[in-house]
């Protein structure tokens, strides 16, 4: 979620922190905001744990990219196209 639109805040709460993780990683926060997020992380082990869990989640997600078998029909069509392509070169 983008900036929380709260003015004159001088801290990030845990409730806000969990909304800011991706913006923080993607460089979408202002410098002031980054500073507050990092200050919060120094003080709050719970949010540090939360951040670690988000990291572990993002790191695990490529596991869901599985190969799928190519149907015979598709393989036949593509191989014959490949042979035609090769013959034209």
């Amino acid at each position: 979620m983008a900036e929380m639109h709260r003015h004159e805040i001088d801290e990030v709460t845990c409730r806000e922190f969990v909304e800011l993780v991706t913006d923080y990683w993607e460089g979408a926060l202002s410098e002031d905001r980054i500073e507050l997020v990092e200050e919060h992380l120094v003080m709050c082990d719970w949010c540090k744990t939360y951040l670690e869990q988000m990291e572990a989640t993002v790191k695990a997600l490529p596991e869901a990219s599985e190969r799928e078998p190519v149907p015979e029909e598709t393989e036949r069509i593509l191989l014959s196209a490949f042979r035609a392509w090769k013959a034209r070169r």
Binding site: M1, A2, T13, C14, R15, E16, V18, E19, V21, T22, D23, E26, A28, C44, W46, C47, T49, Y50, E52, Q53, M54, A56, T57, V58, K59, A60, L61, P62, E63, A64, S65, E66, R67, E68, P69, V70, P71, T74, E75, I77, L78, L79, A81, F82, R83, W85, K86, R89
Partner: protein
């Protein structure tokens, strides 16, 4: 698109037939399964049929999952993937490697999906996908934070518990099943962005271009999707 439209296969990836005879490594030519993307491409341009088959096999799942994002049925998804490969073959010599091959293939697929949706009004543009429950409410249950009358308003009341050895545990087959189910349960647009960014590994610029959404919108969808997957894994990891 129902959540069942994105079945993520749980079969292990086809194992490369690697022989482990000591001393044979230096002389044995690499099998197509062992080649990286640019080596495969070179082999294919040289007319190597096995390399082409390997490339098709390697990206078939990714391309089908991407086609399904646009609401394509299984049969239509397969046709779009075929069209994508046929176009890719025609354009192969002009591919300059400015993006990854996967991103390039996704771009071709996107164009085929778009043309098809204009022609048949069967596939659904990304912007028309359901936005139900997509960007409302907090990403972590409100009840897990202290209320206004508590000692530390807006700080955790039910904090997350550290996961032990997450890398090893999340690599298990059981965890992968949990992961796939968590992705399948996400709202459509969140699922699309999470799949493209975190599962397929495309960069944000490419994802915005392919899905025709703004950077900000993409970040919101990505964050909500990731948060949803984390929450689902939390139950498994704490259990």
């Amino acid at each position: 698109m129902s959540s069942a439209a994105l079945p993520i296969s749980l079969l292990p990836p086809a194992a490369a037939p690697i022989e482990s005879r000591p001393g044979a490594e230096e002389t044995r030519p690499l099998s197509p399964q062992e080649l990286d993307e640019s080596q495969l491409l070179t082999a294919i341009r040289g007319g190597d049929e096995a390399a082409f088959t390997e490339l098709v096999g390697r990206y078939h799942g990714s391309l089908r999952r991407f086609a399904r994002i646009f609401g394509a049925s299984e049969a239509v998804a397969e046709e779009i993937v075929q069209e994508t490969w046929l176009t890719a073959l025609q354009k192969l010599d002009s591919f300059e490697g400015r993006s990854t091959l996967k991103a390039w293939l996704f771009g071709i697929l996107r164009n085929h999906a778009r043309r098809r949706s204009e022609r048949e009004r069967r596939t659904v543009p990304f912007s028309a996908l359901a936005t139900d429950g997509e960007a409302e409410g907090p990403v972590v249950d409100s009840l897990r934070f202290q209320g206004g009358g508590d000692n530390w308003p807006d700080h955790w009341s039910a904090p997350p518990r550290p996961w032990e050895d997450p890398e090893r545990r999340l690599a298990s087959l059981e965890a992968r099943e949990q992961l796939s189910q968590a992705i399948a349960r996400l709202p459509e647009r969140q699922r699309a962005v999470v799949v493209m960014r975190d599962v397929e590994g495309l960069d944000s610029e490419k994802v915005c271009e392919l899905l025709e959404i703004s950077e900000g919108n993409q970040r919101v969808l990505l964050h909500r999707g990731r948060s949803g997957v984390r929450a689902a894994l939390e139950g498994y990891m704490d259990g």
